[in-house]
């Protein structure tokens, strides 16, 4: 290259000039190489540009707003413009090369804004940095470049172990993204999103349940709203329940399993469930194969309402679903009508293990089941009757019991729902007796009884006075000695009156001994007096009966 090194023979000038390239050209070549290298690197690192459609883009600025995944910046918003119809906003974002693989179908974008709720404070960083676009991975199969932004962000990492379920709620009251999900009082997940169901009549709440608790969600698992305090008054008394102190303020969704379905396999991902109003409602939801029966009562249905328990031999086995009336077209009589549901599983689960299989077989076959029921009713005297569960709340329940000497009944075994025979309630008689007893204890009219006694004695005195006159007559006419005897008798009666006065004072006095005995004695006296009165009335009406005896057809 350099002429000096060309050898002893200097080459021709023209040739030398043609091939002489100075070493200095290395510099631009290196510069070009570096520049081109950088350019290639840039191009190679150039990620895809994706478009995300949002309804509104508060706080999104081109060149500033970042796209973040797991809080790592994976892209930058390059442009914000309207969609052709001006209904939505399209955000273009340049995504880093390394995140190119994330831009697949199902990936989600949402705008992260600061959020302060009672249960959590999130996105505080955005107060200083401005809103950013959150990102969550989709399925890694189909590459996409156009996405629709979510209105509310995902709160759960797609990689988090656990499963997603949908809960169908009546409304979104108390429901919010991030709302905790409880199982046995432990927070095991949260609400990830909620939206109006396709039919517009319900709200689909998407929840995420963390592993390993997700295995507790089974096909028959019940979900209920655990908002605030759950106070319920029923036949079992007052119950007060809350999932946790946090749920007291922010609410939550809880789920639980009935002990019967402990062996069930976990529900599949995305399974749907109903959201019940409260735990009570959720847990007593009819079992899949509930039986419906109808009962007609001739007595008042006091204290029975939908939800009142139905017990079989004292074990909870169902509930009243409807309280109404029915009209008997033949007798023109209105009767109370109760519709009840009966849950055979609740009873079967209480059987000894050895009998469970038999019972299940029985439960499955309609024929066997009906035969069994018929036997229970016709041969063993199974009857429904109303019973008071709580004297305090006045709640009643329907009890199925065996009667010792059941009156014969006719049951139409074909009717649907089946009408079961009832027994004249324990309830009214019991209540009557009770109230009578209470009345007696409450206002035993001892004072009046004493007064009555005094009046009685006064009557006696009048009678005696009459007798006096009679005696005077007799005295005058026939038996003068008798007067003295009558005088004695009067004295004796006066003495008796004094004694009774004293006795009544003793009875009324607070420390009266043997008061109860005396009370019953006095009742006996009252009764005797009443009988006497009846007898005297009878004699007054039929004086001949004294002579002839009572006539067969006459009644007092």
């Amino acid at each position: 290259m350099d002429e000096k090194d060309a050898g002893p023979l200097p080459p021709p000038a023209a040739a030398a000039r043609r091939f002489s390239i100075s070493k200095v050209w290395i510099i631009p070549v290196v510069a070009a190489a570096i520049a081109l290298g950088l350019a290639f690197q840039r191009i190679a690192q150039e990620g895809p540009t994706v478009t995300i459609t949002f309804k509104s883009v508060s706080g999104v600025e081109p060149g500033k707003t970042q796209v973040r995944y797991k809080d790592v910046v994976i892209g930058l918003v390059t442009a914000v413009h309207f969609s052709p119809d001006f209904r939505t906003v399209e955000v273009s974002a340049k995504i880093a090369k390394e995140a190119e693989g994330l831009m697949t179908e199902g990936a989600s974008f949402w705008i992260v804004r600061p959020r302060v709720t009672l249960s959590e404070v999130s996105g505080l960083g955005t107060l200083l940095s401005g809103n950013y676009i959150g990102f969550e991975r989709g399925r890694p199969d189909r590459v996409m470049r156009h996405f629709t932004g979510l209105e509310s962000g995902r709160v759960v990492d797609r990689d988090a172990p656990g499963r997603r379920f949908t809960v169908h709620a009546h409304d979104a009251q108390h429901i919010d993204v991030g709302l905790p999900v409880y199982y046995q009082g432990i927070q095991v997940g949260q609400v990830t999103s909620f939206e109006l169901a396709a039919d517009g009549h319900a709200v689909d709440v998407k929840i995420f349940v963390d592993a390993p608790y997700d295995a507790q969600v089974r096909a028959s698992t019940r979900f209920w709203n655990a908002s605030g305090i759950d106070v319920s008054v029923n036949a079992s008394g007052v119950s007060l329940r809350t999932e946790s102190l946090l749920s007291l303020f922010v609410g939550g969704i809880a789920f639980g399993n009935a002990s019967a379905n402990a062996g069930e396999p976990p529900a599949p991902e995305g399974a749907g469930f109903a959201l019940y109003r409260d735990r009570e409602t959720a847990m007593k939801q009819p079992d899949p194969n509930e039986r419906r029966f109808v009962l007609y009562f001739n007595e008042a249905l006091d204290g029975v309402e939908p939800g009142s328990p139905v017990k079989f031999l004292g074990i909870r086995a169902g509930e009243v679903t409807q309280v109404g009336m029915a009209f008997d077209p033949r007798t023109h009589r209105m009767r109370g009508r109760l519709e009840i549901t009966f849950w055979p599983e609740r009873l079967i689960e209480r059987l000894p293990t050895a009998q469970v299989q038999d019972a299940l077989a029985l439960d499955r076959s309609a024929k066997l089941r009906n035969a069994f029921l018929e036997d229970m009713v016709m041969r063993h005297g199974l009857r429904a009757r109303l019973r008071v569960a709580s004297l305090v709340t006045g709640q009643s329940y329907v009890a199925f019991e065996y009667l010792d000497h059941p009156p014969a009944v006719r049951v139409d075994w074909k009717s649907e729902p089946l009408e079961l025979p009832v027994a004249p309630g324990v309830l009214p008689a019991f209540e009557e007796k009770l109230s009578a007893l209470l009345d007696k204890f409450d206002a035993l009219p001892l004072q009046e009884i004493a007064g009555d006694m005094r009046a009685l004695i006064g009557d006696a005195r009048t009678t005696l006075r009459g007798l006096d006159v009679l005696t005077a007559d007799i005295d005058r006419t026939a038996v003068p000695k008798f007067a003295a005897t009558m005088e004695d008798a009067r004295a004796a009666l006066n003495a008796a009156e004094r004694m009774l006065d004293g006795a009544s004072a003793t009875l009324v006095g607070p420390d009266a001994p043997g008061q109860r005995e005396l009370r019953s004695a006095l009742q006996e006296v009252t009764r005797a007096a009443r009988s006497l009165r009846t007898l005297s009335d009878s004699i007054e009406r039929h004086p001949e009966s004294l002579v002839r005896g009572r006539a067969a057809d006459s009644s007092p």
């Binding site: 002429e3 100075s22 631009p28």
Partner: protein, 190 residues
């Protein structure tokens, strides 16, 4: 005298080093360095020279972006200073040297006196063209407020520095006497 083969033949009678009546391969070297400088000037302007990190995030700034920002914020004097020092001077230097190279290669007819004056100016101004790099160094050293705010030099800085250095080298590699050689037709080697 400017003949390369003749120049190679001249030696120092004392130390034997080869003597040149003109700077050796001046036009070639200048041209090579100018091309390198021009190449480096592209990333110097495209890549950010300052990356400002605040609480919210980091924001890169290029030279022209900084000029625009200064102008928009009202300090048009500062914008002008930066524009002149960081954009116009490097481009002007490269343009002037390219022109002089063509003059030296006798492809362009011109006034040699003016060209020499132009060359002296380029040589003089060269040492001031590192303004941006100095500003960067200052800012980066000063603005280090921990997590609140920090400033880092961007990848454009070494390219900008390379542009300045390469144009200075190009100016020093150039031999202004070459421009005058054409006035002596006997030395013309076409």
């Amino acid at each position: 005298m400017s003949n390369f083969s003749r120049a190679a033949a001249a030696e120092c009678p004392r130390c034997g080093a080869s003597l040149h009546s003109r700077k050796s391969k001046a036009v070639e070297r200048t041209a090579a360095l100018l091309i390198a400088a021009a190449i480096c000037y592209v990333p110097a302007n495209v890549l950010p020279v300052l990356v400002t990190t605040t609480l919210g995030g980091s924001e890169p700034d290029t030279i022209l972006g900084g000029v625009a920002l200064l102008y928009e914020s009202g300090s048009w004097v500062l914008a002008l200073v930066v524009l002149v020092a960081s954009v116009m001077i490097p481009i002007g230097k490269i343009a002037v040297l390219v022109y002089l190279v063509f003059v030296a290669k006798r492809t362009v007819a011109t006034d040699q006196r003016q060209c020499t004056r132009l060359f002296r100016m380029v040589e003089f101004i060269g040492r001031w063209s590192m303004l941006d790099v100095f500003v960067d160094a200052f800012v980066v050293a000063l603005v280090q407020l921990g997590p609140l705010m920090s400033v880092r030099p961007g990848p454009g800085v070494p390219f900008f520095a390379a542009t300045a250095v390469l144009t200075m080298f190009a100016a020093s590699a150039f031999d202004p006497r070459l421009m005058w050689d054409r006035l002596r037709p006997g030395l013309d080697h076409g």
